[in-house]
Amino acid sequence: MSNKEFFTDRYRKMGWKYHTVKLKKTIRINTANVNKPSDLIKRLQKQRLMLTKVPFLKNGYWVEESRFSAGATTAYLTGLYSIQEAAAQIPATLFTEPNGKTVLDACAAPGGKTTQLADLMHNTGAIVALDINRQRLTALSNQLERCQIKNTIVYELDARRASQLETSYARILLDMPCSGNFATDTNWFKRRTIKDVQRNAALQREILTETVKMLEDDGEIIYSTCSLEPEENELNIDWAIKNLNMRVEEISCYGQKGLTKVFGKHLDSSVQSCIRIWPGQTQGFFMCKLIKSEPA
């Protein structure tokens, strides 16, 4: 059995029939830098960057037609918009009132979600952004400068050591390092094995365990991956419920309910409050909101 057959067979068992997808480029308007989004849309359309609104996103637009790269405009370079895949625009919007709060973005580079969070927070409060790859941190810093972000501090630090900063957080974004999915990587089936998935799932548990320690009692964690593999998604959340005293809070956004039965294994029923997105209009994605359980 080839790698591709192995994974697509798993998807079939999870209720989804594999098919190829062609993703549209998506932009996100940085509302803190744009007074009137409709004026920006008109300006870009005059430059023949033809956009349509993504129905499930507040500030997201698909690029339908363009004679040049969406990243090669003055509006992009002055931070009026960012290029960010549609599903990847959802997690940061799931926090309850992040304005003015101290937020941890534990795996931040290259910074698409960090700049989005800062925009949603109107540059108030503080974002502590971590990553371990120096080159990616440089890319993150460039994004922050381009988007005129003022409320973020960046550390070169492994999320598994995040408590070294001795700060507690009201909101934590865990956009986990993950195995990715075939929709954004044409060689995905050739490059990935189940061992990669298992290794990433273990790393994600380590990051969850570390960051839960720094979550304020009434705080929220948004957990997300762009992996389709249940080990990195529903199974990890089921594990967090059982081992970290966390529970899943209902969220409302584009996507389907999380799986509660995976390859014959029954998970905590609240895992269905997670959101799973199979590739189609967007890449594959998974996300959920975790909060601390009441003490027993």
Binding site: A126, E145, R146, N151
Partner: protein, 157 residues
Amino acid sequence: MIKPIDDFVSLFGTSISLDESLIVKKKDKYFLLSQRLKKLASKDFFYAGTYLGKVKNGTFYPGFELLRMMAEKKANRVVVNKKTEWLFICGRDVFNRGIVKVIGTRKEGDHALVLNRYGECLGFGRIVSNMDSEQDRVVIRNISDIGDFLRRETRTH
């Protein structure tokens, strides 16, 4: 501590007021922090708040947010047309014919911000010849432009 910044801003015939207690120098780089970030910045950070610029070999290289702040003040500036806007972002100098408006100095040797018709700061340069001269002459030598973000992306990929 902020002398390099003050000196740079004064090249444009203006000044800006920054809370010195919130400016943090890390190696050769200057950052402007909020009170909130200042409290969190006890450890060795990589980047924080607003990047103001860096000093290298005795020369101050401004961050683009500092240029934006200056554009909000009465800094010397020129507004350029659409064609010149993109050429400037690509690192090219500004010809006299590309300028639609001059605010402040026209004097050779002075510095000027370069803005597009939306008032967005594209970078800055040095005035190298009389702006009242003939049209097909370079009048502003490009020193720094926002196309640098694209060039940096190419370098980090």
